[in-house]
Each structure stands twice: as structure tokens, then as C-alpha cells.
């Protein structure tokens, strides 16, 4: 009897530990502000998951799912800059440092620090940023932003268009998480 109880407790605690949140409709906006041109692209199909216990967080973003206002820009983005047929995804694998401050049972805004490995265009680099988790009526959402140097990820900007594409692009992230059951 004692054993059964013991195992039950273990299973229960395992389930508790396994509490994870995910989204498949993460919103990523990438924008470049250059003297000659403003470029913005939106992706509503990013996937993310995080583990409440360990703070581990991951993102996967399909490059082809970025939508531009100008069709030709979208083609060039995929073909010339991101080479999305060779490297279809950008990923992030990291950790929410102070996950313990996040109380998903209580409404409120929670500032957290996130750090980890960001892979774009086949190049992996360590990045750090802050994110705000918002809990409201048991709904968990998060916003964050990143600034990324294009050259860091071996994405070449030809001299001819260097006034059209910023050296540093901004990435804004919004996610509405759901409990993974």
C-alpha cells in the first residue's frame, strides 16, 4: 500500500514538474529602419514552448512564413538573404533565468530575463533579452524584443542596397501560450 502511494506521489510530482505552455501562433515582426526604406515582415506561425519548472524555453520560426508588403522583397528575403530553402527555420533555445518569480496562478505582469542560443541563417549565437509575461484570467502571454546585427548571422547586404537595409534589425515577439496537456 505504501509503495502504491509512493509511486502515485512520484507520478503526481512528475506531472507537476512537466507543466508546460506552448503556442503555434506566435507573432514575430521583423523590421528594418534604413535611410532609404522601411521594411517590415510579419510571421504569425511561430512555435514556442516553455517549461514552468525549469524555465527552459524554445522557439522555432519558419522563415518562409514571414509576409512582406512587397512580394518581391519576400522573394529576395527568402532567396538572397535568408536562403530559406537551405535553412528553413530560425530557432531559439534558452532559459528564463528567474522563472521562479513567475506565478502563473496570480494575475499580473512579470519581468523576466531570457538568455540562450539564437540560430538564424545557420549561425548560432548567444543572446540575452528581457520579456514580460502577463497572466490574466489564467491566460498566459508574453512579449519580448531583440535587436540583431545582420552581419552576426552571416547575412550579406550588397553595397548597392546598404541604404535600403538596416545593419541592425528589430525583432518583436508576442505569444499567447496555452497549457500543454
Amino acid at each position: 500500500m505504501k509503495s502504491v502511494l509512493f509511486i502515485l506521489i512520484l507520478i503526481a510530482s512528475h506531472n507537476l514538474q512537466a507543466q508546460k505552455y506552448f503556442t503555434r501562433t506566435g507573432n514575430i515582426v521583423f523590421s528594418s529602419h534604413a535611410p532609404m526604406e522601411e521594411i517590415e515582415a510579419v510571421n504569425n506561425k511561430a512555435t514556442s514552448i516553455f517549461d514552468v519548472q525549469t524555465g527552459a524555453i524554445e522557439w522555432a520560426v519558419l522563415i518562409k512564413a514571414f509576409e512582406f508588403k512587397k512580394a518581391l522583397m519576400q522573394t529576395h528575403f527568402n532567396e538572397n538573404y535568408m536562403e530559406s530553402s537551405k535553412m528553413p527555420k530560425a530557432t531559439f533555445k534558452g532559459k528564463i533565468e528567474n522563472i521562479s518569480t513567475l506565478n502563473l496562478e496570480k494575475d499580473g505582469d512579470y519581468q523576466v530575463n531570457v538568455s540562450g542560443k539564437l540560430t538564424i541563417h545557420g549561425v548560432t549565437r548567444e543572446v540575452q533579452t528581457t520579456a514580460t509575461f502577463t497572466v490574466k484570467d489564467k491566460q498566459v502571454s508574453a512579449v519580448s524584443e531583440l535587436r540583431v546585427l545582420v552581419a552576426d548571422y552571416k547575412i550579406e547586404i550588397p553595397k548597392l542596397v546598404r541604404d535600403n537595409i538596416a545593419k541592425e534589425v528589430q525583432i518583436n515577439i508576442i505569444a499567447q501560450y496555452e497549457v500543454l496537456s
Partner: protein, 292 residues
Amino acid sequence: MRHLHLTILFIYFAFSISAQDEDLLSLLGASPDETDYTIASFKTTRIINLHSIENVAGGVLDVKISHRFGLINGGISELFGIDQATIRIGVDYGLSDRFMIGFGRSSFEKTYDGFLKFKIFRQSTGKNEIPITASLLASTTIKTTPFQNPDRENLFSSRLYYTYQILLGRKFSENLSFQLSPTLVHRNLVKTRSENNNVLALGLGTRIKLNKRTSFNVEYVYALPDQLAPGFRNSLSLGFDIETGGHVFQLHFSNSTSMIEKGFVAETTGNWGDGDIHFGFNISRVFTLKDN
């Protein structure tokens, strides 16, 4: 009993540790299967003279300015043909991502041309797998040079030429695209009895990408046997596409003077072997009139 507890505990922690290592995203399973349409099989809507399987996107205007210079075998006195040029100025517009229209005016034979091009289906992978892209092209040409024989009764319809083409293309890899274009050119009036009113031909085109922004293109229009009168030849062109943002520069060599189907498919006379080669270029500049 205690041993059993310890064993379970041990297995449990071993499992937990291994669980830490696993890919969190894999817990979500495979992402939903979507159709992934192949893009950028060619840099622009023309291979050289032939239409490619590419369309301009909906709401995009593509202004094309094309030149064919004189014959290279004109020698230094003609600066290898550069002294004379024929020009086509044209605009293409995408009514949707799959349906485009275009108009142009060529100085050669003072011709106006207009066309419709529709993508029937697109090469794709994923949920819907289609190995090729297929398009239809229909074009009409009005030649406005004075009639050869002004004394007889000349009808306006005698100025008209029609071309129908099926474009079948496949992007085999990032660097290699290939296209077949079965073609019918109809001419309401031909100069001599030996020329057919209908000419059947097969266009072949390929693109080899040299780097991200440059490609090498070849196209050959093979007229089926007994379609062309003696003296007319198949059109062969080769050249480079250079893309710089919103512009595409196409620089090429061709034995055809005309830049429209009825001309280069059915009325090419130049012979590569004799050096009857034109240097030429197409410049394409796109303007997005309506956002995606």
C-alpha cells in the same frame, strides 16, 4: 521494500534527467503539414525572349525596356552592331499572383503586342506535392508598318498575329530550373506561299544560378519539321541575369531580332555560325502599386 523504493527513485531521477535533455519542441509533435510553393524558379518573367513560368505578383507593375543591337559580324565600323538598335518598351502588371497582363511596343516592324498569362498550377512540396508549374500564355500582335502591296485590298486582320503557349517548368534545385514551352504561332497573312500560317514550335529554356544574384540562361526555340520556310532558323539565345534589388538586368546574345513570340519563333533569320548575332539586354524595374 526500501530497496524497491530506492530503485524506483533512481529510475525516476534517471528519467527526469534524460527528460531535461530532450528537445522541448518535439513534445509538440510534427508541425501541421502545409503546402510549400516553390519560389523564384527564374529571376524574372522572361528567360530571354521566351516567357518564363514566373509571374509578377498581384498589384506589381514591371516596366521592361529591352534592346537588341545590330549584328556582331558588322565589325568595328558598326561597333559590332551597337550603332543600330531596336527597342521594345513594355509594361507587365499582375492582376493577381497568378494572372498577369502586359503590353508593349517594338520599334522593329512597328509592332504593338499584348498578352495574358495565367498560372494553372504551381510546383509545390508538403501537403500538396506537384512536380511542375504550368502556365498558359496568349498574345496578340499588331504590326503597323505599311502593307507591302498597298494596291490590293488590305484588311486590318492581316496585321494580326497570335501566339498560344503552354509553359511547363520545374525548379530542380536551387541552382537549376528548366522549362518546356510548346508554342503555336498563327499569322493571318504571310509574305509568301511557302510560309505556313501556323507554326508549331517547342521552346526550351534553362537557368543555371551562378551565385545569389547572377544566373546563366539559355533558350532555344525548336520549330517542328516543315514549319518554317527555307531561310528561317531556330532561335538560340544565351545570356546572364543580374539582379540588384528592384532591378533585373538581362544581358544576352541572340540570333533573333524580334523580342515578341511571332518574331523570334517564326521569323528568325540569323545564323550563329555566320556571326549573325545580336547583343541585347532587357531591363526590368518593378513598382509595387498595391501592397500584398
